[in-house]
Each structure stands twice: as C-alpha cells, then as structure tokens.
C-alpha cells in the first residue's frame, strides 16, 4: 500500500513538473510576442480575435499558432532521412524537459509524518545532471542542420556546435567556485543552505554567499543565454545571414517543437540561475520551510523568481543586436573563460582562508 502511495506521489510530481515547464514555456512565448511588440513600439499578436477580443494576444499564441502549425504540410527535403529529420526536433525538446527533473521547486511537504520533497528526482549530483542534459540538447540543432541537405542549415548547425562547446566550458567553470562554496552538488541541499542573512542585512542567497559570487552570476547568466541560442547569441539561426539557419527546412509541428525547445531552455536556464544564485524557493528574511503553508508559498516564490528571469531574458533578446561570429567566440575564450578561472581561484582562496 505504501509503495502504491509512493508511486502515486512520484507520478503526481512528474505531471506537476511537466505541466509547470510547458506552461511556463507557453508563458514565455506570450511574453516574447507581446513584449517584443512593446519594446518595438507596435501592437503585436492581435490578428486572432473573437468578436474583437484578442485576450491580450493569448488567443494568438495559445490557440491560433498551434492549430496553424498542426495543420501545415510537414515537408521533408528530398534525399534526407525521414527518421533523422523527425528525430532532430525531438532531441531539441526532450533533454531540456528532463533537465527540470532535479530542480527543487519548494520546501519539503510534511503529510502524515512523512516528508515529501518537492523535487522529482533527488540526485546527489543534481546540478551536473542538468548540465549533462542541457549539453545533449545541442544534438537536435546539429542534426537538424545536417539532415536538411542545405548549405545554410549546415552552416547553422556548424555554428551551433562550436558556440555550444565554447560556452559550456565557461558555464561549467563559472559555477565551480560557487559549488565549492556550497560544498555540495545536491540542488535541494544548495537551496537549504541559502536561508538566513549575511551580516543581518542581505539575504544569504547564492549571489551574496561569497564576495566573488556576483561575478560568477554574471558569467553564468551570459553563458546560459548563449546556450539558449537567442539574440545576441542567435548566430545558428541568424535570419539576415543564413535564412533561418538550422531549422530552415522545418515546417509545421516540427518547427513548433524547435520553438518549444528554445523556450523550455529559457525556463530551465532561469530555474538554474534561481536555484544557484537567488535562493530557490527561499523568501528573504522569512523562514518559509517551517510554516504550515511553506510548500505553497515557497513554490509560488520560486515560480515568480523563474518568471522574472524569463522576462529578463526576453528583454535582453529584444534589446541587443547580434554578435559577429569571431566576437562571439572571442568573448567566450578570451574574456569569460579567463574571468571564470580567476573567479574560481579567488573563491577557492576565500574558502581556504575564511
């Protein structure tokens, strides 16, 4: 009986996490459509309307776009493999959603003397699990570029693979110092460490945990934005140079899947930033974990923080122009990597001497 309840709890959490990621991704798509319109001083996403009501563009992004994509012709370029052509968008979405499994989204729930962790999989090496699955997502891009039998797509895939590797290294090294300060890879434990305050003033969030963590945050945030392949890092799809890059030959639901993967990546990136640097579900100056409504408030606060970083990424995407390719790689290898190494050194010295 207990096993059955355990299984039910896990299934419930799985449904909850999947629903949360997909809904947040849809929310980001809506923010992107409306936000870009706002930033560019136009009225966006208002074509789909019922009796003149477009529900602030929700009708467009939630109903009209998916229906349009589902009913479009699914074109596969002649001479390419049908199977690999279908596999690529799948590979772009699936690892990203899996990566969300280890994110703790609330303080532990206590029901009938049992503690239920609000986290789908409590892995010892949780943060590395997220890195591993985010790094797998690049295969979707590269495979799409290769299987499209098209020079522009191939260039997009080629650009993506070099960009991903460069920024993944910076991303990993930038948080090495942070993880050394936490002395843990377990995300649940990392969030629990971020309660209380530093010197009674600042919340003890990751960004204030050591004197050097703000640098780690900047480096990590830039690197993770490069991983999502959006402007100013959108060279794999640069419309003004290589048509649409790796998904030039994709239409209909497969194209929509690439889109969904991109926005799911934004959500996962925001979740990573929130958990590592902004206290996860912790509320500043208040101990949420001990109160009865803790799990609910914690989960809500976590959702709000994630939503904030999603919106921030959309604003950055519509504010900055695209890099030139040598600038992109130069930024990673010549500026961010040395800074990340320096940050690791400084944080290690701080940990040893304090």
């Amino acid at each position: 009986m207990n096993e059955l309840i355990g299984l039910a709890v896990v299934l419930l959490k799985a449904v909850l996490v999947l629903g949360a990621v997909l809904n947040l991704a849809l929310f980001v798509i809506w923010v992107e459509r409306k936000g870009s319109a706002l930033i560019q001083n136009r009225i966006g996403a208002n074509r789909a309307a019922i009796f003149g009501f477009d529900f602030a563009g929700l009708l467009n992004t939630l109903v009209a776009d998916p229906v349009k994509a589902l009913t479009k012709e699914d074109f596969v370029p002649p001479g390419s493999s049908r199977f690999l052509h279908a596999l690529a968008p799948f590979l772009a979405v699936f690892p990203v959603i899996i990566a969300f499994a280890v994110v703790p989204f609330g303080p532990p729930l206590r029901v009938a003397g049992q503690e239920i962790r609000l986290q789908l999989a409590d892995l010892n090496a949780g943060i590395l699990f997220m890195f591993a699955f985010l790094s797998l997502a690049v295969y979707g891009t590269v495979l799409a570029g290769w299987v499209s039998q098209n020079k522009f797509s191939l260039l997009g895939g080629l650009r993506a693979s070099a960009q991903m590797i460069s920024y993944e290294i910076t991303m990993g090294i930038s948080i090495a110092g942070v993880l050394a300060a936490y002395q843990s890879l377990d995300l649940h434990h990392i969030v629990e460490l971020q309660s209380g305050t530093v010197a009674g003033v600042l919340p003890r969030w990751g960004i204030f945990y050591t004197p050097f963590n703000w640098l780690a945050f900047i480096l990590f945030f830039v690197a993770v934005m490069a991983e999502t392949k959006r402007a100013p890092f959108d060279l794999p799809e640069a419309e003004s140079e290589i048509v649409a890059g790796y998904f030039t030959e994709y239409s209909g639901i497969k194209f929509l899947l690439f889109w969904l993967g991109e926005f799911a990546e934004i959500v996962v990136a925001s979740a990573m930033v929130t958990v590592l640097f902004f206290g996860g579900w912790q509320v500043p100056y208040v101990e949420v974990a001990s109160s009865a409504l803790g799990p609910l408030i914690g989960a809500l606060v976590f959702g709000l923080k994630v939503a904030f970083f999603c919106v921030l990424q959309v604003v950055v995407r519509w504010s900055l122009p695209r890099f030139r390719y040598d600038q992109l790689l130069g930024l990673s290898w010549k500026l961010m990597l040395p800074l990340a190494l320096l940050n690791l050194l400084a944080t290690s010295a701080y940990i040893v001497w304090s």
């Binding site: 010892n124 591993a132 699955f133 790094s135 690049v138 590269v142 290769w146 191939l154 693979s161 070099a162």
Partner: protein
C-alpha cells in the same frame, strides 16, 4: 539489477555495431552518442550516480560534439565511407572475435563474477565526495600523471595549429600581392 545489466548490455552491443557498420560518419557519431549514453545508464544501475552523469556530460555532450563538428566541417558527403571491408576492418574484426571468444569461454567455465553496487565495495562510492577522495588520495600520482600527459597533448595541438599561421613567404604570399598592387597604383598615379 541483473536484468537491467543484461538489457543494457544487449542495447550497447547493438549501438556499437551501429557505430562500426554505418556508411556515413555522422550516423556513426550518433550511434556513438547512444553507446556513451547507455554506458552512463550502466553506471547509474551500478549506483555510481556521479560517474554516470559525468559520462554523459563529458563524452556524449562534449567529445562527440567535437567529432560531429569536424565531420560537418570536412563536408557532409566527404564523410561517407564506401566500404567497411578493408584491412584494418578485418584486423579489428579478428581482435574483437578473439575477445568475444575469451569472454564466451569464461562465461561457459562457470566462474562467478559478483555484480555488486559500487557503494561499500571498498572502491569508494558513487558520490562526488567519495570519488574525489579516492582520486586525490590513493590515486593522486596516476591522476596527476594523466593531467601532465593531457597538458602535453594540448600544447602539442596548439603548436601544430600555430605552425600553419606563420606569415606567408614573400614572392607568392599575400604581402607580395599587396606590394605588386601598391606598385601598380603608384604607376597609374604617376
């Protein structure tokens, strides 16, 4: 656990055959990703969670992507292999056959191999902390030696790549072309 190991073993073998017998290098690379991912799953079954995640992160996520990058850089069609049956293939096949023979004889001999989780086996455990203690304690010398070796290889690669970037020799290089052009412009102006 044993059932999982057998299933994973079969899957890994199938994917490894895919690596060898694919006609196109990119297909081989994709099969290789599957092999490395399943090897990570194998580690996870043996309770070595950290190793499993790192296996996927480093090998499937980074190393094979570099291979794919090279394959795409050299051209998608240049990677197509005409025939897999060449001398190296025969030699590799013979070696693989011998290894398989040894394994089969070993399995038939009735010797028992204990398949135990890594935890509590005296080899450290599945967590990063235990693995780190082993690497920087008992195996420190081997670890540092491998580090020096990799560093030497890295330096070698940098030197090889830098060699080709020496300025072009005068007479047929870019500078010579520029000088000729300058002279032409001067003549025209004069």
């Amino acid at each position: 656990m044993e059932a999982a190991i057998v299933i994973l073993g079969v899957l890994i073998t199938v994917c490894a055959c895919g690596v060898v017998f694919s006609r196109q290098s990119l297909h081989s690379a994709l099969w290789l990703v599957a092999v490395l991912f399943l090897a990570g799953a194998y580690f996870a079954v043996l309770d070595a969670g950290f190793l499993a995640v790192v296996q996927v992160l480093i090998y499937a996520g980074a190393i094979v992507i570099l291979m794919v990058f090279v394959i795409m850089l050299l051209g998608a069609d240049a990677g197509a292999v005409k025939s897999v049956f060449r001398l190296p293939a025969y030699l590799g096949g013979a070696l693989g056959g011998m290894l398989a023979g040894v394994l089969i004889v070993f399995a038939l001999s009735g010797a028992k191999v204990e398949l135990a989780p890594v935890k509590g086996s005296g080899l450290g455990g599945g967590t990063a902390e235990e693995l780190g203690r082993e690497l920087f304690g008992r195996y420190l010398f081997a670890f540092e030696t491998i580090g020096v070796l990799l560093f030497a290889a890295l330096l070698g690669a940098v030197i090889l790549a830098a060699e080709q970037k020496r300025p072009l020799t005068p007479g047929r290089g870019l500078r010579a072309v520029q000088e000729v052009r300058k002279a032409e412009i001067k003549e025209n102006v004069d």
